[in-house]
């Protein structure tokens, strides 16, 4: 239940009056008002009763002692030192990391400009996460150098292993292309005669093939063949079923192949270690801070 109450300043004065904390002049003025105003007297009485109740709040008994043992002090000192050390490590690692990144940025003209191929591979990983399989062309366009180097070295056996790995990472293109692989040997003879017929169902998006052709024309003739086999129908390529299958297997591995590249340049490793140190230091400092309390 709420009672009618005076404005805050009057409430404060009544409360202070109750505790003899008003200046003599203020107290005298209030006393005169109290003599005339019954509502003010009632408010003062309610405050007095509230204070009375609060003053009789039962004391609580301790169930334990709080004296400190030398062990408590030692533990606290150790925790305090450990906290300071962790903070120092964290701060130092953060500063070094920032300096490294800043230097790389300033000297290299930007994070991407001076970065080796592995930077691109990281970007691809992120892009793959963000875009999933919806935009395979975007992946391919960002990956010019890595596939060229790797593709030259790898034989078809590697490709087939990679194809399995890629299937895990890029579900959509792999699924579509696997479908194509299944269909290709049987459809080719029929389509040979049909030349320029309707596009095959489940063909991959055109931009992917185009971008592949643009970015790695000198390393393989495959993209061109792939263009014909996917865009214009298999019949235009003039390839046998076996050849088409083999080419398609290679094609199927291409978009996601760079995602398997693990960047292990010394600078990258140092950055990762510094980042780990900064995070670990901060976590340890937070833990020891709790101990210090």
């Amino acid at each position: 239940m709420k009672t009618n109450r005076s404005p805050l300043s009057e409430l404060e004065n009544l409360s202070a009056y109750l505790d003899d904390q008003l200046q003599p002049i203020e107290a005298e003025e209030l006393r005169q008002r109290l003599a005339q105003e019954s509502e003010l007297r009632r408010q003062l009485e309610d405050l007095r009763r509230t204070r009375y109740i609060l003053r009789r709040t039962p004391k609580v008994k301790r169930l334990r002692n709080f004296v400190l043992s030398p062990e408590d002090i030692r533990r606290q000192r150790f925790a305090a030192q450990a906290m300071n050390f962790s903070r120092l490590i964290s701060a130092a690692a953060s500063v070094l990391l920032l300096v490294m990144i800043g230097t790389q940025f300033l000297l290299g003209g930007g994070l991407m400009a001076g970065a080796p191929a592995e930077n691109f591979s990281l970007m691809v990983d992120e892009a793959a996460d963000d875009l999933g399989a919806e935009e395979p062309a975007a992946e391919t366009m960002m990956l010019e150098s890595v596939p060229m180097e790797e593709a030259a070295e790898e034989d078809s056996a590697d490709d087939s292993i990679d194809a399995a790995l890629v299937a895990e990472e890029t579900e959509m293109p792999a699924a579509e292309e696997a479908e194509m692989l299944d269909d290709a040997p049987t459809q080719t003879p029929e389509l040979d005669g049909a030349g320029g017929g309707p596009p095959v169902e489940g063909e991959p998006p055109a931009p992917e093939a185009t971008s592949e052709a643009e970015f790695s024309p000198d390393e393989r003739s495959m993209p061109t063949e792939k263009d014909t086999s996917t865009e214009g129908g298999v019949g235009e390529s003039g390839l046998t079923g076996e050849e088409v299958q083999s080419q398609d297997e290679v094609f199927a591995t291409e978009p996601a192949e760079p995602t398997l590249v693990i960047s292990l340049s010394p600078a990258r490793i140092v950055q990762a270690v510094l980042l780990l140190l900064a995070v670990a230091g901060a976590l340890m400092a937070a833990y020891y801070r709790k101990q210090v309390r």
């Binding site: 239940m1 009672t3 805050l8 009763r49 609580v60 334990r64 709080f66």
Partner: protein, 209 residues
């Protein structure tokens, strides 16, 4: 040891403690632990949290002893303990609340917890004390931390405005204002308990001394 033979002299104990004498500091702990625990209990509203806050407070006080610049050691110590209480409350926001009334091994509510028991009281008196304590705590819990600390220091622990101002490091005017508003809020809340309060504590009851 010479400290233990001397009568309790707060200033001397502080001096010895500043020199690293843990026994001297523990004499101060023994002198103030009841007050610290009662303040902490009313501020945080729960026994184990209060124990943690007091323990943390004494540890922090020992660690920061060099920052004590004279004046009231009691106020300085209570400032550290109330800060530890506020830290506990902030942490508590991230954790579920533990009920004020404890439960026994059979999940039955213990009506008269042992930390409120007074061996000299009859069971009826003990029940009244327990109910009053719970009602007041319930109302205190609804106050903002700043208001609760001031009303606990002044009305429950009986400090004057100046002492409370030293504890919370605020001007007298702030204490006056917070106390008035806290009392008004508590008055409304305690009204709500009506007949649950003992006769002498009811607002409609006989006039108080």
């Amino acid at each position: 040891m010479q400290i233990m033979q001397d009568s309790f002299d707060e200033t001397k104990m502080v001096e010895f403690a500043l020199e690293g004498d843990l026994d001297a500091f523990n004499r101060l702990v023994l002198a103030y632990q009841d007050l610290a625990y009662n303040v902490a209990f009313r501020v945080v509203g729960e026994r184990t949290l209060a124990e943690d806050a007091v323990q943390d407070g004494f540890l922090a006080a020992y660690r920061k002893l060099k920052t004590f610049r004279g004046g009231s050691f009691k106020a300085w110590l209570l400032r550290i303990v109330t800060n530890a209480c506020l830290d506990e409350l902030r942490r508590q926001k991230r954790r579920p609340m533990v009920p004020l009334q404890p439960y026994d091994d059979y999940d039955e509510e213990i009506e008269s917890p042992e930390w409120l028991e007074d061996p000299g009281e009859s069971p009826e008196e003990n029940l009244v004390r327990s109910e009053l304590s719970a009602a007041i705590q319930n109302c205190l819990d609804d106050l903002e931390n700043d208001f609760r600390v001031v009303v606990v220091l002044v009305d429950i622990q009986g400090m004057d405005y100046a002492e409370a101002a030293a504890v919370v490091e605020s001007p007298l005017g702030t204490i006056k204002s917070r106390l008035a508003r806290a009392r008004a809020r508590l008055q409304d809340c305690l009204h709500g308990f009506g007949e649950l309060l003992p006769d002498t504590f009811r607002f409609e009851g006989e006039s108080i001394p």
